[in-house]
Amino acid sequence: MKPERLFVILPAALVALVASTFLLILPQGCSTTRDLDPAGVYAGDRPLYEADRAILEAKDAFGMILEWAARNAGYIASDESAAEFVASVRDNRKQWLRDAIAARDAYELIRGPEQLSTLDGKLAILTRALALYRTHATQTLENAN
């Protein structure tokens, strides 16, 4: 995959994660995006729908980050922080996703503000990882030019 293509896909994942964070905070109905059909499995629960969307986007993005790392081994080897970042994604991505899913499951069960806050925190971890990727990917592109 070309780096330029990653720049199209990964910002979408970031946007989904950041948007989900805002949607967890805002009262339902504030979003200007499409509404949920209340007959669906989410029963109109927008925060839960957005959290799931964000988790799935992050999962796909982590796969792409590892692919990017394999294609840019030279840059990764030359930059200690990039190497640490990639190692962190490789080692922790499954646990980050497990934690996010556990938090969404807890929210689905009780749907209280405390569970929502925990879920928000877990999604923020995913957001930080993707934002860090963007920094490194930008550096890779600059080095290539």
Binding site: D35, L36, G40, V41, Y49, I55, L56, L97, I101, D105
Partner: protein, 54 residues
């Protein structure tokens, strides 16, 4: 209010109204997130949960 200020204020209001109108039209055109779309996403989350449990 001088005429120029009035025109600027009207322009600003028009821009706002046009923007809101477009947003409403887009929301109507896009419709609801369907039952099928929701089920598909939920199925992917359930599959990911199982995958991570392995």
């Amino acid at each position: 209010m001088d005429p120029l200020q009035l025109i600027a204020a009207v322009d600003a209001a028009l821009t706002t109204v046009e923007h809101l109108s477009k947003m409403v039209a887009r929301a109507k055109a896009e419709g609801l997130i369907t039952v099928e779309e929701q089920s598909e996403q939920k199925a992917r989350i359930d599959a990911l949960r199982e995958e991570l449990a392995d």
